[in-house]
């Protein structure tokens, strides 16, 4: 399978897309944020140095979710008052994409989900219940977070953000939901918590002394 190849409009380096539907990527060399247009790549911004983080996952980490294999192609970093977390953009071997988050080694996999009448951020409070796809979700925590950077390929344009509110909803099973208020229109992600061992991750980062 040939991968789409282009050159960075900023530094001329070769840009390879692992996932054909990627909308945005970051040049590995000059850290330019590049957005795909119909004809070429356009530089829209620049990533400052990413803050150090302790995730064992990195771009090109491979794993399995159910019977599907995936590879990590990009990420968004967020910070909040208790630290930071990553939303890793993963490409499944059936061509779909999903998000693998790791917040202090708590792993979860989620998918973008279409739903109508999502509540505005100001209307949500802890304990409130919502039902999506016949599953009841309870708001457990509302996290004021801030955008701290991007890396690799993303399925949408995502850069130049500042404060972002996330609403976490839990269930009595491993299922959970997240309401993402990055954009004027809220976005819903439905997923489940997963055990590190279940993901069968390969090509992980190594840690000094471990």
């Amino acid at each position: 399978m040939s991968q789409p190849v282009a050159n960075c409009p900023n530094c001329g380096a070769k840009i390879v897309f692992r996932w054909s539907s990627s909308v945005q990527t970051v040049c590995e060399y000059c850290k330019s944020i590049l957005v795909r247009t119909d004809v070429d790549l356009k530089k829209v911004g620049q990533v400052a140095d990413l803050p150090p983080d302790s995730s064992p996952i990195q771009i090109s980490t491979e794993g399995k979710y159910g019977n599907k294999a995936f590879v990590v192609v990009g990420r968004i970093l967020y910070g909040y008052d208790q630290g930071g977390w990553n939303e890793w953009h993963v490409m499944m071997n059936d061509g779909t994409s999903a998000w693998l988050s790791d917040a202090q080694s708590e792993y979860a996999l989620s998918l973008s989900s279409k739903a109508v009448n999502l509540p505005a951020a100001a209307q949500v409070h802890v304990g409130q219940q919502f039902t999506w796809n016949n599953q009841s979700y309870t708001v457990s925590v509302i996290t004021p977070a801030h955008y701290r950077g991007v890396e690799g390929e993303l399925p949408f344009q995502y850069w130049d953000k500042t404060d972002v509110t996330f609403v976490d909803l839990r269930t009595e099973s491993r299922n959970f939901a997240t309401l993402d208020y990055s954009d004027p229109e809220p976005a819903l992600y439905l997923g489940e918590f997963v055990e590190f061992d279940e993901l069968n991750l390969k090509n992980l980062r190594s840690f000094e002394g471990w």
Binding site: V5, S54, S105, E172
Partner: protein
């Protein structure tokens, strides 16, 4: 590597960070690669903001508790359920019940891939604890977690009064959390409420020796005191199930008894009434009965004696003799019956009937030799001797029944006393605890 492989310019390999306490200058190392939110200076007991490059001081606490020493030293690595962990944090917590302060200890364990895990220790009892990934359903009396029912054990306020090392949360000394424990031994489900947020964790009981093996600690773990809330009962058998099995066995015994009773021939082979006469029996006291035949297989023989004695006794020396082989079974039976009246009312002792069963008598021709003796005050008395071949014997079933009943009762008693000790420490102590007198068992 093919073209397009990203250059190796990724973030450097995370390393433990060496810093200095802004208060006293002591060396501080962060082992958890950025997962720590707070870190405590071991020298001056300043609680520092681990997320701040300058380690801003968040709180200082007086270490009047300098003698509080973690049983597992900070920095120790061990293998817990197959994963390597490093001990990065320690805190002592306390709760007050009826004016008494109880202390327990919590240890923070870290693995860069698996994350954070906890150990708790109270009076030599350990728990392996992790944060719940799914929400339990809880009410006052109990909770349900992953399909299992947990019973409410205790609700109490937990203070943090001593901290050491790194914590993946904003730890503070003096902070009070409302802790509610639900148990399903060997597991414990705890809800810890701080402000408005409840954090649920699930713990599994561990023995000190398992911890000592995991972390290769020298010496012996402190011996556990008492019974802990989620300590597994030494009675691993299901007591109810055991009684059900016992009842099934008892029914089986009854059926077996009924079958053997039905299959027994219970064949009368001799029934004769004799007269004891003191005057006549002076010279030759013994005599023999008619010969009777025992047919079929080797079986039991029952010899019944009846004498209408009243405040007398009669004693019969029996011999069951095989006419063909000469083999003999000697036995003596007494028939006595007394009755009277005293200050307690009327009383009786003994019976006019007697019965004895001789086991395993082979088939053949037999007779009884009888030598009667009687109360000197008794001049003469009739007595009836009855011989029945192939009667069922039930004594063995009684022994089997008791042999099974005794361990079942002992195990049930042990399970009961263990559970009573467990629940006596809870918010729901069993009743009649103080008034029970038969406790020296």
């Amino acid at each position: 590597m093919s073209a397009g492989t990203p250059p190796l310019s990724g973030p450097p390999k995370p390393q433990a960070r060496a810093l200095n306490c802004p208060k006293c200058g002591a060396a501080i190392t962060l082992h958890s690669f950025g997962q720590a939110v707070t870190v405590v200076c071991a020298s001056c007991h300043s609680i520092l903001d681990a997320k701040d490059p300058n380690l801003a001081i968040l709180q200082r606490f007086e270490a009047a508790t300098r003698d509080v020493k973690p049983l597992i030293p900070l920095g120790t690595r061990g293998k817990l359920r197959g994963t390597d962990y490093e001990l990065i944090g320690f805190q002592r917590r306390s709760t007050q019940v009826d004016g008494i302060t109880y202390y327990w200890h919590e240890y923070v364990l870290f693995n860069p891939y698996k994350g954070i895990r906890y150990l708790s220790e109270y009076n030599g009892h350990w728990n392996d604890i992790s944060i719940c990934k799914t929400l339990p359903i809880a009410d006052g009396g109990g909770a349900n977690y992953l399909g299992e029912t947990y019973k409410h054990f205790q609700s109490a306020d937990a203070d943090t009064d001593f901290v050491l090392g790194e914590f993946p949360w904003q730890v503070r000394v003096g902070e009070k959390a409302a802790v509610t424990d639900y148990v399903h031994p060997p597991r414990v489900l705890s809800g810890e409420k701080l402000d408005k947020e409840v954090t649920w964790s699930i713990g599994e009981y561990m023995y000190g020796r398992e911890i000592w093996e995991s972390f290769k600690l020298p010496g012996d773990p402190p011996a556990p005191i008492g019974v802990y809330e989620n300590q597994p009962s030494p009675v691993t058998l299901n007591v109810t199930g055991m009684w059900v099995a016992f009842a099934a066995f008892a029914v089986f015994l009854l059926v077996l008894m009924a079958v053997f009773d039905m299959r027994a021939k219970k064949e009368p082979v001799l029934q004769e009434t004799y007269q004891y006469n003191r005057a006549e029996s002076k010279a030759e006291t013994s005599f023999v009965t008619d010969v009777f035949e025992l047919t079929g297989h080797t079986s039991t023989v029952e010899v019944k004696t009846f004498a209408p004695v009243s405040n007398h006794w009669i004693y019969l020396n029996y011999a069951l003799i095989n006419q063909d082989s000469g083999q003999a079974w000697d036995f003596g039976r007494e028939v006595s019956y007394y009755s009277g009246y005293d200050s307690d009312g009327s009383w009786t002792e003994g019976k006019q009937h007697d019965s004895v069963v001789i086991p395993s008598v082979p088939p053949g021709h037999y007779y009884l030799r009888i030598e009667p003796e009687a109360d000197p005050s008794l001049p003469n008395i009739p007595y009836t001797v009855e011989v029945i071949h192939d009667v069922p014997v039930f004594g063995i079933y009684g022994i089997a029944f008791l042999a099974l009943l005794v361990p079942v009762v002992i195990i049930s008693f042990r399970a009961y006393t263990f559970e009573r000790s467990r629940w006596s420490e809870s918010d729901h102590p069993p009743m009649e605890l103080s008034s029970s007198s038969g406790d020296d068992e």
